[in-house]
Symmetry: D2
Subunit: 339 residues, 4 copies
């Protein structure tokens, strides 16, 4: 199945780490030693010192987005996002559910442009309109594209100019930072974002997302807010153990590399089969538009998700994961070529 | 450590069940075969047919309470609870965060009385006051007590009389239903409640709570609501697998029995040591009021939670779990007797 | 000043009606005889019997929109509106503040098309997306245009097809129903909408909007909701008296006719001066795009609102009201011709 | 009718002031000259300079409480109030509707005690509980009592000690500040509160409440918040004109004095008739407990509100207003004496 990057329960190393702690007793709510260690490892990896930032462990992406955004916005403030952004399209109104408008900009490739942010800010000139206060981006984006260093710098510039917070949804940060076309480091992410999260669910964890918040933007009561949102796990250590394992030796990035590597195999095969990918994603999501019957066959045989029904053709999405084997890719390509 | 019933990662059987599925691929969001099977097992156990009710798997207790309550109430409606209820005291305003008042009744033993509910309803007579619409109880309660069949029947009666929904927080339903003093069956719970949840986190699961909603009260869009609240797990199967394991052979209740059995050992020892327990809990939470220095020693040595500082004495809470060994209980009693 | 239709305190007849009641005592919260009488008059005027619908009096437009929309939607449901709709652009996120997404469709002329609604519904296919449940339109629209009978019928058709509620924001319903191009009756509005409001603030009242809700869509607890939203006036009779006066002899429509009549004078004058109006509004809002210096002079001299700065030219908005005198219109036209 | 202090439409002077402006045009949303002047007069009267504070005009009490409280609290923060406080009992959950818990302290006389606030703060020790951040008091209170200077000073002390904001609901501030037993000045209110409102609706205005916020606690975006809550009136000048009139020559206090003076007449008469008042209110609300048949007669004849049904007796509330005539009071007393 090449349907998603969260179809397998967890990477074997992560399961093993959980198993190892089976006999232990830990204090609850993320105050345990594993979570502390995981926090330290993540902050270090992203070039942040312990007194500069905090890491918090939540259970899932939508929960994390809603919790983070509602923490930083006052009731009349809004978050700016791409029209295709996850918070706008695929979270059943979770952000609006916290009382905030998601102001959207059109985007060809899932990436937000500084000029669109600037326009949005200037448009919201008076008290009859929401005040944009935060910029939401995801890396990699909904369509698998990634931000370059230059792009992120110019986003940071516009945020600084207008006093906006920059929030990066890193549900798929692993594949973004390890793909071939990437030119930013973890440390750069740590430097340029006010808040970001490192996704576990889509990169080999059983579940969990690690939110990193810089202290300078007041993370003081974030734990109160997590609890208020129903997002504090009693067995917080269950997530802490996983992130400790993922970051103690670079496993997080190794798992992501497999996603990218197998996606590259598929991309090469598609190229060979003269099938163009849509949108130039360099990461683990690949979009192709093919004839209806091929699309239907791929959906049935490989569990692909239908992205868009264009009448005589269909766009389908192929996703690889930490667990994808080369053979699976070859099988897919073989099948396509055989048609 | 006798601090809590969620200090251990999970029962070995649950971990093993997760491990067994390591190679599998499953569809996301709780639509997988494990979750379906777990739902079926739970509904059957509680005497409900598949067309009568649905079970949904969430990650934690506060999340479940806020999600359930906000699903059934309209903006001007309130939930009635004990003043000591979890939703009133220990959820950082999560229910109010969804926009609803928690109307509280005083309670000596953590249980709600039908006459208090009736008084609450009659008091809220006009449109300048909230409309009570739901009754929240927990079984076992915050202080470890349980509801009898007669008590539940009279709660149901007052709910029927005034058109209120009865919601049972079953974070510790396992110990309630398996303790010696219990006189209600699973089937009775299924019959008498409009909605209830079966707690996993505090009874051997890695995490997870199973919410059961009767179809007659419109559970039709509950999945939309779960997602809107950020409570839908991408790897829903991770919880489904656990509940399937817990309910396929009665393991859920076996684990709870160990909590109660070891609590009984402690109760007997305390009795022997002439230390009275407070509040008559027959389940896995035991409260004792002892001199400061003994309390402090117990807190340090056994990780007990301080419940109330009464000046010259302190009340501490002892909690047993699925994993508590007899020796731990004897050690505690021995320590107390030695003082 | 031709800036707005809410620059004058109230129509003399309305002020006089308030003055007349100065010696009286009335019960509060809209339960008084004036409000009851006003409700009856409005329901009759819109062809609705007392047992078919209820009218409620609120203080302002944004308040009314937020109160109505949040009453009918459940947390995960959304309202569909034009991108230029008042609730999307000019209410500082009030609807999102109640927890609901405003899903927007682009629109050339401020009107919503049935095909866009249908597309929106079909797009929101699963539980990862909000459920559209209500259609918000305004008549006249933000840009002064009005809906025809045929258009409203086809909107009703798509609402019926997909189980959507049709809500008409009638902040400027008076000018819509009395302008020359209008082909719908009050009775038709009453028939075709599930809920609508009759705007007072922008049509000669001191303040106030009359919300009409059909009983069949459960208006039973709307008064509770009004209070919960802080929108119930202690002196509800103060609004009731005004609407009674406005509807006892057709004054409401007479006032609106003056707005349209004077707007027509301006339109004729502009035509004469070879200045094209933008957007074809037949009601009391007129948009013209003129050179910067003329625009600036009009803004300064006649208080016009700047609508859009297009660089070398500017679009300004002219608004007439119940109080606009013919001379004011002639002065404006004279000034324009003199440049 | 001695039912309420908001049964008359408005003081004649206020109506006259509105009438006087009938020919005028004003800019909307409270940015007009009348509102500016009213703001200046109020700030001056309460000893505050224009650069120290801002005044905003809203339409009603519940709206004002919900708007103010939700402006200053973050999602996990709570407001402390008396159990009998208006926000807790009579606002249909409006504050909870904004997402915040109202934490209540019992109170014999409608007044909050510093020691109860302190206890509340100390109780909320960790992130599993809401953070109290604001103290809500009303002056006069729900039962007509008033705060002394000493009491307010000690409330201020506990607020300073724990970083709490002090918010005074002044729906009936007029009668509090002009009653005989009062020992605080307007200037003292201005000094001691972080935010307070001066009630118009219950003291001779057609409608309106004037919220005063000190700049040091960040009133910067309050207008955005007013709009987001649907509480910004298009014809803001309609309220501004009234408050200008009420504060340009002390009319506000003259109106309140009539309420107190006529209440004193009734108190004297009751004393004469050997009927004890309940709760020692020195302001315009008087509570008496009388036999059922007398109570019923008073309710029918004088429109009194039933406060509590005690079986063989009933407690009823008598309220005087700016418009209450001496004869009405004498009629009431005469009636009581005749029974």
């Amino acid at each position: 199945m090449l349907r998603n990057d969260y179809s397998e329960i967890a990477a074997p190393q992560v399961l093993e780490a959980l198993q190892k702690c089976a006999g232990e007793q830990n204090v609850g709510y993320g105050l345990d030693v594993h979570s502390k260690k995981a926090e330290k490892l993540i902050l270090e990896r992203f070039g942040l010192f312990e007194n500069e930032a905090k890491a918090h462990f939540l259970a899932g992406g939508t929960q994390t987005n809603a919790t983070v955004i509602s923490y930083f916005l006052r009731p009349y403030e809004a978050v700016i996002a791409c029209a295709s952004g996850h918070i706008n399209v695929h979270e059943t109104g979770a952000v609006e559910g916290t009382g905030h408008k998601v102001y959207t900009c059109p985007s060809a490739d899932g990436k937000l442009l500084p000029e669109d942010i600037e326009k949005a800010v200037l448009l919201h000139a008076d008290e009859h309109m929401v005040s944009p206060k935060m910029v939401y981006i995801s890396n990699s984006t909904e369509t698998g594209t990634i931000y370059t260093k230059a792009e992120l710098l110019s986003l940071r510039g516009v945020c600084d100019k207008y006093g906006l917070l920059l929030f990066m949804d890193g549900a798929r940060l692993g594949v973004a930072l390890t793909c071939e076309k990437n030119d930013v480091t973890c440390e750069f992410i740590g430097e340029i974002c006010d808040v970001f999260y490192v996704g576990g669910t889509k990169n080999g964890a059983l579940m969990g997302e690690a939110v990193v918040i810089k202290n300078k933007i007041d993370a003081g009561s974030f734990r109160h807010h997590i609890k208020n949102r129903g997002a504090m796990l009693a067995k917080g250590f269950a997530v802490g153990i996983q992130f400790k394992r993922l970051f103690e030796d670079g496993l997080y990035f190794e798992l992501a590399k497999n996603s990218n590597r197998t996606a590259d195999i598929i991309r090469a095969g598609l190229n060979d089969a003269k099938i163009q990918t849509i949108g130039n994603s360099p990461t683990n999501q690949i979009f192709i538009n093919v004839k209806r019957d091929l699309a239907d066959a791929l959906i049935e045989k490989f569990g692909l998700e239908l992205w868009e029904d264009c009448g005589h053709s269909k766009t389908v999405r192929i996703v690889t994961s930490f667990a994808t084997a080369d053979e699976e890719c070859e099988k897919l390509i073989g099948f396509i070529k055989s048609r």
